[in-house]
Amino acid sequence: MASPSTPVRTAAPARGRAPARDVAGLGVGRALGFVAPALLLIGAFLIFPALWTIYIGVTNYRLTGVEAVSPSMVGLSNYTRALDDALFHNALWLTMLFVLGSAIIGQNVLGFTLAWVLRRARPAVRRTVEALTLLAWILPSTVVAYLWVAFYDRDGGTLNSLLGTPGTAWLIDYPMACLVVFNTWRGTAFSMMLYSSALQAVPPSQLESARMVGASGWQTLRDVVFPHIRGHVLTNTLLISLWTANDFSPFLLTKGGPNHESETVPVYIYNVALQGGELGYSSAISFLLLIANLLVSLVYLRLLRRRS
């Protein structure tokens, strides 16, 4: 440990990679010693499972039967099967719908609107609204999901009392719409908080000038506000899209039903793995989901870089 009086030498910020010896003035060996625990953990809980998944994805590994004990290599047949699997295509399509409806449109628009409206509200009002929306976001998803199951319930559900539509089984008749509304409600707080802080970066003088020249609200948003918060919008959209694409809570509301009408990819993976027992195939789909997430992330990062 360096004593407080010893100035800590930091590596000069340089483009490209700094020479290894310069890692905070430590030798490579010692530096490795410091990061070893983290490396071990990441290796054990991230890298190893990921490699394991890739490996299982090219076998016919199952939960039961002979393949549970001695799986054999099946090359890419799990992947070619995914190409022809109508249920997988259905799951992909539903996942896109879920992300587009509840994250890209729902949480983004609602979060920004709340942030925009609240920026000039009295602090007390703002804090109350923020606290309430945040509650939805910090509650465990299981709790929130079951609250919504009760809300949508056919017999004695809150929604039917509100609308005066007794006996309507919302989760059965409109499963995707129910999921989109549920996930929008649950995730809005995050977008709202992010946009609240982003809006502080917009110089008041520019807003003032826009008002002076008589710009409409929409023009002000488009030409003054948006350029300042573009990075925030991209980052936020990327984050919430990834969370939504990988979200398992639809299972708690509908189990993917009725008849696969709300079976998003994570739910489909679960059903394939644990109901059909096909671990090889479900691992292959998991890997495809990972690749899709990576591609989406790359596109966003491109967009972000273009901005700078």
Partner: protein
């Protein structure tokens, strides 16, 4: 010191991971056992060590079972053997994981000729383990057919229940506790509908006509027969299979899976009849928590007839600790045997049918002490020990003599033990079963969503051919 690039680190980690992987999996699949072992090996040993494997753990999964085995059964067996001059140590090897995980660990051990000397497995794994040669018929392991067949315990275990530890007509293990399925009905609603309190339908038509009488009471769902995919295995065990055995057919017979047959279509027709004429509630079958909801509705006097297992009686509507308590359970809930489609139309020409589940205890063919393991198995399944394992609770055991004693005070469980167990059937223990079961669930889901029986059965045929691995492994007519 050479700078270590990120790539190298990743490479080393990756290589290590792959080495681990191939190491783990490379050792398995070592082929079937030669079976050339002497069954009397170590029969006269004075010092014996046995391990007992079970998917239960003190303070966790099936805690009561684990506590009984390690604190009561093992010490008593050790003491008994001491009397014979044998120094026995029995190690309890408890596991508290998911059934599928436990099964995999066990499979790996057995395929490598290791694992506990005795272990408990779910009855539907028996066939699968036997097919894979992990376990052998008791007469082979013990070596002396008379020794096994003359055990007096078999006299107390009904023939039908013995199927739980058997495969292809051979006993591989001794069954443990079991369960059964009946039609429960709400006597209060029956009275309102003018139906008898001692109702016992003799055909499916009797069930339908009782349903039609109940339909006249507003706010009541007459019949709940589990259907659809959301209920999972509950649809198969508490819906399709009890109906199917009522048509005289089984889901797997002579090694072939049931396909699109007349009997399957009869079952689907019954579903269609219940769910398209307002006798059942199709929406409930599609809800994620549909089964729990059906329990709540039954307890709230909103369901007339419900097909369930004794678990429903013991743990769902149980007045004190049930998940959907009925304070007046003992007077308000009636039960009846599940009738075949028509009298005599059930499997083996039966008038009434049921389905059961449960576990069995099996001897590892690779044990060093086959004779002592058989002694332990007999001791474990003796009347005294089976009774002791209940610890005062009323539960259906494998032994008729114990049942008639401990279930005396519970008319429902007595009925289950005396009337239902002798006529019950078990699921086929085969690796393809879960997928076939899922296909059956889907067929019922199709029917309640309004598909025709013919279309649902045709789609099922396709799914079951895929699951079974070929047309030749499926029966259709």
């Amino acid at each position: 010191m050479r700078p270590l690039s990120r790539l190298t680190t990743a490479g080393v980690l990756g290589a290590a991971a792959l080495a681990l992987l191939t190491g783990c999996l490379g050792s398995s699949g070592s082929g079937s056992s030669s079976g050339g072992q002497d069954a009397n090996r170590n029969a006269d040993a004075k010092k014996v060590e046995l391990t007992f494997g079970s998917n239960s753990v003190k303070g966790g999964k099936s805690s009561a079972g684990a506590t009984f085995i390690s604190d009561v059964l093992i010490p008593k067996f050790v003491a008994e053997q001491k009397g014979k001059g044998v120094d026995v140590t029995v190690k309890f090897q408890g596991d508290g994981s998911d059934d599928e995980v436990y099964k995999q660990k066990l499979s790996l051990d057995l395929s490598n000729k290791s694992g506990p000397d005795l272990f408990q497995i779910d009855g539907i794994w028996v066939g699968e383990f036997a097919q894979a040669d992990y376990i052998k018929p008791l007469t082979d392991t013990v070596g002396d057919a008379a020794k096994v067949d003359n055990w007096d315990g078999w006299q107390q275990i009904p023939e039908a229940v013995q199927a739980l530890g058997s495969y292809n007509g051979k006993r591989y293990g001794v069954p443990g506790g079991t369960d059964g399925r009946v039609l429960y009905f709400n006597k209060k609603l029956f009275q309102q509908a003018g139906l008898p309190a001692d109702w016992q339908p003799k055909s499916w038509d009797d069930i339908i006509s009782a349903g039609q009488a109940l339909k006249k009471i507003s706010g009541v769902t007459p019949i709940q027969i589990n259907a659809g995919t959301a209920m999972g295995e509950a649809t198969t065990m508490q819906g399709v299979l009890p109906l199917l055995v009522g048509t005289g057919s089984e889901v797997n017979s002579d090694g072939k899976w049931l396909g699109n047959t007349a009997q399957l279509r009869q079952v689907l027709d019954f579903y269609h009849q219940v769910y398209s004429t307002g006798l059942g509630d199709p929406v409930l079958q599609k809800e994620a928590k549909g089964r729990d909801k059906s329990f709540a509705e039954f307890a709230a006097n909103k369901i007339g007839i419900l097909l369930e297992s004794d678990y429903f009686w013991r743990s769902v509507v149980e007045p004190k600790e049930g998940v959907a308590k009925m304070a007046d359970r003992d007077s308000a809930v009636g039960w009846a045997m599940i009738p075949a489609m028509k009298p005599g139309a059930g499997v083996k020409g039966q008038d009434f049918v049921s389905m059961s589940g449960g576990g069995a205890t099996v001897i590892n063919p690779n044990t060093k002490y086959p004779q002592q393991a058989w002694e332990f198995l007999q001791f474990m399944n003796s009347a005294d020990m089976v009774k002791a394992s209940l610890d005062g609770a009323a539960k259906i055991t494998q032994r008729s003599d114990v049942n008639s004693e401990v279930l005396k005070s519970d008319p429902m469980l007595s009925f289950m033990a005396e009337k239902v167990l002798p006529i019950t059937q078990y699921r086929p223990g085969r690796a393809e079963y879960p997928k076939v079961s899922a296909a059956l669930q889907q067929a019922t889901a199709d029917v309640i969503s309004g598909k025709s029986t013919a279309a649902a059965a045709a789609a099922y045929q396709k799914a079951v051919e895929t699951a079974a691995g070929g047309k030749d492994k499926v029966t259709s007519n």
